[in-house]
Structures are given as structure tokens and as C-alpha cells.
């Protein structure tokens, strides 16, 4: 099944984010080998050159490293993955707080509401 990509943002950015999340969430384990560019491009139903570009960018950030002949692997640096996870979580929380503020909820109201909902989910 092709990856769900929206039509306004660059394809490259979207596949980069998608793979990043797959790494952070553990879909790809530290040290695991990534599928080839061609296989990933076919799975995502995107242009292979675009996939190549996204993987090169992941290499630049250190999340992925290339072994000259055998392909690309996920980093074994668990701290780096944790840092990335924190960074993405923070940015999503900021977006969320921004949305709540547009609804007229200040931070305290939002936190209170979140606590109530979190408790409800537990029970």
C-alpha cells in the first residue's frame, strides 16, 4: 500500500518525516538494515530519486548510516534516537498548545483538561 502523502508539501519532506517516525517508534530497530532505495520507493510509491534524497538527509542527521557495499543501517546510537524523539514530541506539543490557545484555552486550562482525559483513558 502506498504511503499516505498529502499533496501540498514536498514529497521529500514527507517521506523523511515518515522514516524518522518509523525509527523513533521502533518500527525500525537500532542497527537494523533499511530496505533498498528501490524497495522503499516502490513501497511508498514515490520517485526513487526523491527517496534517495530523503535517505541522504537521514544520513546527514546521523539517524542512518551507509556501509559502502551492503546498504544503509539504522544508527545504534540510542541516545541520538531518544533526542530526536524528544525534539519531535516537543514540537508537536507546541503545535498542540498553539491550537488550544486559538480555541481560547490557556495553558492551565489545557493541562487540567488533559489530566481529566488521561485519567478517563486509564479507567
Amino acid at each position: 500500500m502506498a504511503w499516505a502523502l498529502d499533496s501540498e508539501r514536498p514529497i521529500y519532506t514527507q517521506i523523511l518525516e515518515r522514516i524518522q517516525i518509523d525509527i523513533i517508534s521502533g518500527t525500525y530497530k537500532p542497527g537494523e538494515k533499511l530496505p533498498s532505495v528501490r524497495d522503499l520507493a516502490a513501497e511508498a510509491a514515490v520517485n526513487p530519486n526523491t527517496m534517495q534524497k530523503a535517505l541522504s538527509e537521514l544520513e546527514r542527521t546521523g539517524l542512518v548510516y551507509a556501509q559502502r557495499t551492503s546498504g544503509r543501517y539504522i544508527t545504534e546510537d540510542v541516545d541520538l534516537i531518544q533526542d530526536m524523539k524528544k525534539e519531535i514530541a516537543e514540537s508537536q506539543i507546541r503545535d498542540f498548545l498553539e491550537k488550544m490557545s486559538r480555541l481560547g484555552l490557556n495553558k492551565e486550562d489545557t493541562l487540567k483538561l488533559m489530566e481529566i482525559l488521561a485519567k478517563e483513558e486509564d479507567t
Binding site: A2, L5, S7, E8, R9, P10, I11, Y12, T13, R38, A41, A42, A44, A45, V46, N47, P48, N49, T50
Partner: protein, 232 residues
């Protein structure tokens, strides 16, 4: 990156009508490129000139540095707007025909794709639906190991599931030394597999840009941009 296709001041006049006017274009190897434009903008005229079916009124088109002829037909795989295959032959005969004509034809690849599309070797083209006949022709064209593929409306007549199959075939057979030029109106279906798009308008180049540059700079898809640029 080497240039596989070059158009220099390419012009084609049909009687009172100018189909292409002073087109300058240079396409690199290893790209998948969409050839887009409203009806009558010159897409098929360009593709026909690349394949030597019609000659330029002025200017020239070069494939890997040479003018269209026997030598370029060896490296250009062409899917015409309408299939020229004889309807009275069977699938296997069509495969043999291509195998006889083109040195770079890969029979195994053709039969593999046909099997995945559930098309039988002994089926006659005349008993097939229009869409299935189009699939057969596309399979033949994509089974060559060409340097340049020119596909004139390859997905218009086939169902959405077969469209997905065709697109994945294009990705899976993608060779970094080959360029694929696809003319189509179904932009949103193929947008994600394109590197670049060419917009033609009244026989002239309106835009030549990468898909992600369009999305990045305009914040909209190529499909949306097309609808805006060519709004009637």
C-alpha cells in the same frame, strides 16, 4: 549527469497551425518526467518528433546527441497514443514481434509483467477490452532496456488498480541511466513518481520545474497548479 534529450528551437507547423514553437529543452538521464499541458498544447507533436515520425519544420531534436533515425530507435522505447499492434495476433506473437525488432527487449520481464496482470499468452488482442490491449502494449514497451522511454498517455484507459501496478512497474524497472517521459492528464495519479514536470501551452514551454520545487515554492500540488495556470 548526461543529457539524453535536447530540443533546440524545435518548431512544427501544420499548414496554418503552429503545433510547437521554438522549444528549447534539455532532459537529463535518470529522471522520470511528466509532459503536461492542455489538449492541443503540443505534447504528442513533441513525442512524435522525438521518435522520428514527423520532422521538425525548424530547429532540431537530438537523442543522446543524434537526430532521430535507426540508431535512436534502438535506444528509445515508444508507447504511442493509439496502439499499432495487429489485433489478429496473440499475446505471444506480439512478444515475439518485439523480441525480433529490439535487441534490448527482455522476454522474461514481459511475461512476468503479463502474468501479474493475468494476461494469458495465447489470448488474442481482438478479444480483449481496450484497457487490456493498452496494458499489453505498455508491458512490451516497458520490457525494453531503453535509454529513453516516451509514454504518450499510458494510464488513461486502464482501471485505477492497473494504474497502480503500472506506476509500481515504472518504479521497479527504473534504471538510473534511463529517462522516462510521460505525457498525461492524470497528474494527481502520477505526481509522486515524477522528478520534474514540463508544462506546455500553445506549443511553447510554460514551465520546467521539479515537483518538490513547485510544492516547496508554491505550497500546492502540481495538479492544483496545473488547474490554476490553465483555468478555462
Amino acid at each position: 549527469m548526461s543529457v539524453i534529450l535536447e530540443c533546440k528551437n524545435l518548431t512544427k507547423v501544420f499548414g496554418p497551425k503552429t503545433a510547437l514553437y521554438g522549444l528549447n529543452l534539455s532532459l537529463e538521464s535518470g529522471r522520470i518526467i511528466g509532459l503536461l499541458g492542455p489538449n492541443g498544447s503540443g505534447k504528442t507533436t513533441l513525442i512524435k518528433m522525438i521518435n522520428g515520425l514527423i520532422s521538425p519544420t525548424e530547429g532540431e531534436v537530438l537523442i543522446d546527441g543524434i537526430k532521430p533515425g535507426v540508431d535512436t530507435k534502438k535506444i528509445v522505447s515508444y508507447l504511442p497514443e493509439r496502439s499499432y499492434l495487429n489485433r489478429h495476433i496473440r499475446v505471444a506473437q506480439a512478444v515475439e514481434l518485439f523480441s525480433d525488432f529490439y535487441e534490448d527487449f527482455d522476454r522474461g520481464r514481459a511475461y512476468d509483467m503479463l502474468a501479474r496482470l493475468h494476461i494469458e499468452r495465447n489470448e488474442k488482442l481482438s478479444t480483449m477490452s481496450k484497457g487490456t490491449r493498452e496494458k499489453v502494449h505498455l508491458v512490451l514497451v516497458m520490457s525494453r532496456r531503453a535509454r529513453l522511454y516516451c509514454l504518450d498517455e499510458p494510464i488513461a484507459g486502464v482501471d485505477p488498480a492497473a494504474r497502480d501496478f503500472i506506476l509500481s512497474t515504472i518504479i521497479n524497472n527504473y534504471d538510473e541511466n534511463a529517462t522516462i517521459l510521460i505525457s498525461t492528464h492524470l497528474i494527481s495519479d502520477i505526481e509522486n513518481i515524477l522528478d520534474e514536470v514540463i508544462f506546455l501551452e500553445y506549443g511553447q514551454l510554460r514551465m520546467f520545474s521539479s515537483v518538490d520545487d513547485i510544492r516547496f515554492n508554491q505550497g500546492k500540488s502540481v495538479d492544483t497548479l496545473f488547474r490554476e495556470v490553465f483555468k478555462c
